[in-house]
Symmetry: D2
Subunit: 169 residues, 4 copies
Amino acid sequence: MSVRVFVTGGTFDKEYDELTGTLHFDATHLPEMLRRGRCMIDVSVDVLMMIDSLEMKEAHRLQIVQACQAATESQIVITHGTDTMVDTARVLAAELPDKTIVLTGAMVPYAFGSSDGLFNLGSALSFVQTLPPGVYIAMNGRYFTADNVAKNRNVGVFEETVDSSRDAL
Amino acid sequence: MSVRVFVTGGTFDKEYDELTGTLHFDATHLPEMLRRGRCMIDVSVDVLMMIDSLEMKEAHRLQIVQACQAATESQIVITHGTDTMVDTARVLAAELPDKTIVLTGAMVPYAFGSSDGLFNLGSALSFVQTLPPGVYIAMNGRYFTADNVAKNRNVGVFEETVDSSRDAL
Amino acid sequence: MSVRVFVTGGTFDKEYDELTGTLHFDATHLPEMLRRGRCMIDVSVDVLMMIDSLEMKEAHRLQIVQACQAATESQIVITHGTDTMVDTARVLAAELPDKTIVLTGAMVPYAFGSSDGLFNLGSALSFVQTLPPGVYIAMNGRYFTADNVAKNRNVGVFEETVDSSRDAL
Amino acid sequence: MSVRVFVTGGTFDKEYDELTGTLHFDATHLPEMLRRGRCMIDVSVDVLMMIDSLEMKEAHRLQIVQACQAATESQIVITHGTDTMVDTARVLAAELPDKTIVLTGAMVPYAFGSSDGLFNLGSALSFVQTLPPGVYIAMNGRYFTADNVAKNRNVGVFEETVDSSRDAL
């Protein structure tokens, strides 16, 4: 199985700029993370953009949709900032019903020792191999379908929008 | 969904002993790893033993089988040394047909900066949520069924024993 | 020998705020760094303030001077943001001729894996034990006297202001 | 000022061998550590040997002495295993009265996240610039002269052999 990874930036890839004392983007950490995970799946990585997801506009999302459509792979992982990850997931869900697409990111940059990035990447690459076609968000061990997820900004966590525990009633 | 994690030791949890200059076991790193992954699944962790898998005997495997049988959860992750992970997987497969059990480990101890442990843990916790009942090994982004996997000790990598690419013929 | 460490904040102690995606201050990392360095000198740590050195005003510098004067120790290390470290060093040099005071900091926050903080802390705690009374800046393996140092902001490095190589003429 | 660094191995440079599950030596981490410390002193690094200090024999110590004698620099740092660091220090003290030589090492390998190596390296490079000619051991923030130091193996710490607090009497 071959998996395509599209990099769009986000917290995942933020680095510390020594000269300005601020966070910025340089090169993606994805290849280093795959090496560290000793990843044995056939993965090819393409950098589409390196931006904060708050700066993501319609044209950027169109570019992501087109990249997913053009990919020969049916399994796609997208690294993305968490703030508008849900928006991009919904655009993709409307356009790509036949592929398994998993968006993931990190709450803390990979360059920080305490980052959740490696955990999330291992998780996203696993969900993409086993979930049926659809668009998903994989964060912190959980997965959500694009139509039933929101980021709770007060606590920095993704949640279902419809209470799935009601299904049991 | 609730996942039970059983800890048995292995490279995952090896630490450096400053006084002897050798690797040994102290407490498990699992709770710290789950915190770092900001894991949002309902996980409970039990330490069954803290041993190198080369020291694992029939009685240890029986203990693992009984713990899996006694667990109320149907999704179980087991951290395990890689050297005899396949042996334990086969014993479990014979005894527990109705649960999804994923064994995982690490090629490098978590306490080393370059460990694959966090990646593998994120991966195992994802596979256990999505794979049908059965016993699996999840390492370095891939999963294998208990009846079709071996560790290639020359390169330190898990492989299928039956060439699955022949299925296409 | 007893060394007093005064913490004032700076890049050293900046952390990533998961909710806002920005760098901020929480608790100091000094005790953790001393543990990691297995520091065997008698050190006591006091947090005077936790601020970016660009926000440091005359009142803050007065507070630092008074803390150094009140300290019973003759060897003092101060952690400080790099942007105005030279200004604080000059104020201290004018007021405290009889103690050995070493200011240090980091180009990258300690919470980042790639931080120079631990190296600089080991360095500052060593210079403070061996240099004669005076006020010094210790960064990246070098030490400078307060009256002959400037931060070169273009490259993020401290330099002598007077070319000391001329002394040989 | 130019400092020569001689690498001899020791815990500092031990790495995890994924295939055997044991600690071994590969390349030295010194250049990476100097980069991380953003070290601005003029340092040149030579690898003399890569061995556990328990394996160090008279011939090895002779090689170290000769390298120190041949060095054009008067300031020398030697990375060394802690178990026989004192023995090597004494041999050097007898042969090299005119240079400042600082031996240092680590209680935990640099490749482990929790290593004291970077702290000790920053410390040794600072002591070597400021101490008078002589042979010293610099570990965990302290320095000792070659004739008054021993490793306490029960607690893994270097101590003075003569109680220096008696000097006050």
